[in-house]
Symmetry: C2
């Protein structure tokens, strides 16, 4: 939630020279995304987002992300579309960082989604999965089962500083999931971070999906599990099965789940909860004192993990048996 | 340079209910201003800035600032114009803070102004002074000569932590200015903070003035002195007399300076330099370690103060004798 890199009018002018976008009418640093710097740019031609990829962004993967957004936009998914310069390049450099211009999407994100928002999100997620089927790019998910232990080890000694007992609990969850993690589920390109912040609405209509910088190749149902975690819990920690049903039904209207995906859903939900708990623990421990960025609470996902551990069947998430 | 207060879609909806602005199409926290929270808002009707006044903003003065912007906009100064709700109110509340919507101005600020930018700024400053003549509101300048000693005392013991000797140097400058400060100069409504960040340009055309939250009633030429400090020094600390001349000539095209203002210009420039040095010292010492906001360097104004101390006559700033 902060602009990390300052861009002067002169740097912007140099960056825009190889594009045909007309006069700059507005340029404002915006509080969007957590690891990249984003600017809202309005020119005589259109509105754009300029993203500067900061140190945390894996540079070798930028062509994958940009290529994916182009592919999805062509297939009808409303997502930001990279803007190419006259020489065909979508990736440039500004203020010493790799940078790209993408089209601006209207809409605002919803803090407390209703079942109807969940249905729209589910439908949109499935459309993304369908549209991504013939995307040729591949990128392993660094935050799937193989990445959890290294992530945990980076923070292990200090996890108990977040909450007593968290370290042992997390260790046990990783060990169990490493043993039980389902293999061979239908794979494809997933968003991997489709939280309500990344879904825009204009009034009740879903107007676009944003922030594809965790996108990767992984089990499609894992993406649905991420959404069940992100969209269907109430602030008091209760799982709202009406929202879960709406999300899953929305998804299945576009892409019905295979029986093995239905069966795996509870464990995929545990894995998704663990994945966000782990990065939140690391971020929590890494924040300098006094920083303006307030990290997300890792314990929210500790509680969600405990909920999923008690789920015997996908029916508990609202899936019709 | 940070969004301080988070505004949810629900809070925004409640805030906008008494306005007639149409559907919300975009709402982004922007990195603008240093002490208030600002959002870019686009609705079906127009683009706006939503400002939440944080603790540092003097609440009793908000009607002065909003009234001034309305007055100036009516008089043809391109500045943000407060938007009134159906009941006529321009000041509302959101997320527990006083808040106001103003119209959005196109343009970007120029990091390294040329003489032509300086001329436009000078002209615009004088137009503001002319337009403000019949503004009935009054607000004492908390950062004029009477405010410097209390400000310094708040930081006095620690000024040497910024640079050795700074404390004694500042003390001496305050004492001299308290003795020599000119009284009885033409007064009116001044912007008091017209730095390049607060002046927008679309290509070479000045498109608007923003951030009126230091505006007050004070000597008009003091405002020009603030601009000479803010617009006419080079990054290496040298005063650029070509830019100074452009700024002063631009100003005088609209409002010629009185002889006593010309005479007072060097001491007004010292006062303006001291004023920004003092608030920068306080901000410098107040920043929590690790904060993302990088405070402005107080020593930049220590050096400017030293320059002005050696100026015998306004001719050194480029004023034609």
């Amino acid at each position: 939630m902060a602009v990390y890199t300052d861009v002067t009018d002169e740097a912007l002018e140099r960056f825009l020279a190889p594009y045909d976008l007309g006069a700059v009418l507005a340029f404002k640093g915006i509080a969007e995304g957590v690891s990249n710097t984003n600017y809202f740019l309005q020119t005589a031609r259109d509105r754009f987002i300029l993203t500067l990829y900061e140190a945390r962004a894996p540079r070798e993967d930028l062509p994958f992300f940009l290529g994916l957004m182009e592919h999805l936009a062509r297939a009808g998914v409303t997502c930001p579309q990279p803007v190419r310069a006259r020489d065909g390049q979508a990736l440039g450099e500004i203020a010493g960082r790799p940078a790209a211009l993408v089209t601006f999407l209207e809409g605002i994100s919803i803090r407390r989604p209703t079942a109807s928002h969940c249905a729209a999100a589910g439908e949109s997620l499935a459309s993304l999965h369908e549209a991504g089927r013939d995307f040729p790019g591949r990128r392993a998910n660094p935050f799937s089962v193989g990445g959890w232990r290294p992530l945990f080890e980076a923070a292990a000694g200090r996890a108990d500083a977040v909450a007593p007992g968290l370290s042992a609990r997390t260790e046990a969850a990783i060990r169990a999931l490493e043993r039980e993690w389902p293999l061979g589920l239908p794979e494809g390109t997933i968003h991997a971070d489709l939280f309500p912040d990344n879904v825009l609405f204009v009034q009740k209509r879903l107007s676009g999906l944003i922030d594809f910088y965790f996108a990767c190749t992984d089990g499609l149902a894992f993406d649905l599990a991420v959404c069940l975690n992100a969209w269907c819990f109430e602030p008091d920690g209760a799982f709202n099965v009406t929202k879960g049903r709406a999300l899953i039904e929305g998804y299945q209207r576009i892409r019905p789940l295979a029986p093995e995906e239905v069966e795996a859903l509870p464990i995929l939900c545990r894995g998704a909860a663990l994945r966000f708990m782990l990065t939140r623990i690391v971020d929590w421990l890494d924040v300098p004192p006094g920083a303006l960025v307030k990290p997300h609470d890792p314990l929210e996902y500790d509680r969600k993990l405990a909920f999923h551990a008690g789920v015997p069947h996908a029916a508990s998430y609202g899936l019709a048996r």
